[in-house]
């Protein structure tokens, strides 16, 4: 990744114009030409340095429900439970963390009611309690990291 790639990533984490020639606009700000910008983006996506290039949605506005869920799993059961939990299509991502609460996953469903149903199904299947911790308030939604 060279200097221009980094400039492109930092610039495009801030947004992308909605206009008839958006790549040309951004290219001009970055001091390169439109074709170079498009080709660099293509490479960054192909090499998987970027996961995607497009819209970030506000999921609740779109009509969905989310929650962060924690579990405390005994070491000997961890593999079994993680397989069972990851088997639910509603589990978006799941992290093992270094804590007594060692499993943390995000549920994404089409309704709040479905969050409760999936949590109940997970408790029944795994034999472990779930601790549902939905967002109450959001203080920052940047998701922006500078590449240097």
């Amino acid at each position: 990744m060279d200097k221009l790639d980094k400039k492109i990533i930092n610039r495009l984490q801030k947004g992308f114009p909605i206009s008839d020639s958006p790549y040309a606009e951004v290219a001009e700000q970055l001091g390169c030409d439109e074709a170079t910008l498009i080709q660099r983006l293509q490479s960054l996506l192909q090499e998987k340095q970027l996961t995607r290039f497009g819209p970030m949605y506000h999921a609740e506005r779109m009509g969905g429900a989310f929650s962060l869920v924690a579990m405390k799993i005994a070491a000997e059961d961890f593999e079994r439970v993680s397989e069972q939990v990851n088997g639910f299509a509603e589990v978006a991502h799941n992290y093992q963390r270094e804590h007594e609460f060692n499993m943390w996953f995000v549920l994404a469903t089409e309704s709040k009611q479905r969050i409760d149903e999936v949590n109940a199904e997970i408790e029944q299947l795994t034999g472990y309690a779930v601790y549902n911790m939905p967002k109450l308030e959001e203080f920052y939604i940047g998701l922006e990291l500078q590449v240097s």
Partner: protein
């Protein structure tokens, strides 16, 4: 929550009409990499470029779409350590401290969540990404000093493994 991909069945807000939904479906795998991407999207769903632009701008203004742009892979960009840092903040101070935490570049998410007493006392959650664990710990020390969190109980939960990052399901 902000997501790059919408789970199946999620697109059901009453504030979106059929043409908005067709447009959201057409762009959710990403913007075309060509000089006039909005014209190209319009071509795929039978919509004029001007209508695509006008509808997308409305979706942004009304915050259905938080922003257009790139989504980075933290790990591939050298951010190899990530920690969820949780704080037990008096309810009356959550908003003030949440805003203070939210101003730091290295904090990528900051949410108030319910306590689950007696097992879980923490109510303010933030994510910190760093190149390694020392960098993350340095960030925690910095926010403790800058936001005067010396008397607030906290824990740093480093991630050990990521099991699952779901692909697209439509």
């Amino acid at each position: 929550m902000n997501v790059a991909k919408l789970p199946q069945g999620m697109l059901q807000s009453a504030e979106l009409d059929g043409r908005d939904k067709a447009l959201v479906a057409a762009i959710q795998t990403g913007l075309p990499l060509c000089p006039h991407p909005y014209a190209e999207i319009g071509r795929r769903i039978g919509m004029e470029e001007a209508e695509v632009i006008q509808r997308l701008q409305r979706l942004l203004d009304d915050e259905f779409i938080k922003r257009m742009g790139v989504v980075v892979r933290h790990h591939e960009l050298g951010y190899r350590a990530n920690a969820m840092v949780v704080w037990d903040v008096p309810d009356s101070q959550v908003a003030e401290l949440g805003r203070c935490l939210g101003q730091f570049d290295f904090i990528t998410l900051c949410y108030q969540r319910p306590r689950r007493l007696p097992q879980w006392r923490y109510n303010l959650f933030c994510m910190i990404h760093g190149r390694d664990r020392d960098e993350v710990i340095g960030c925690v020390d910095l926010v403790i000093e800058q936001c005067a969190l010396q008397d607030i109980a906290h824990e740093v939960l480093f991630s050990r493994r990521r099991f699952k990052q779901r692909g697209a399901r439509y």
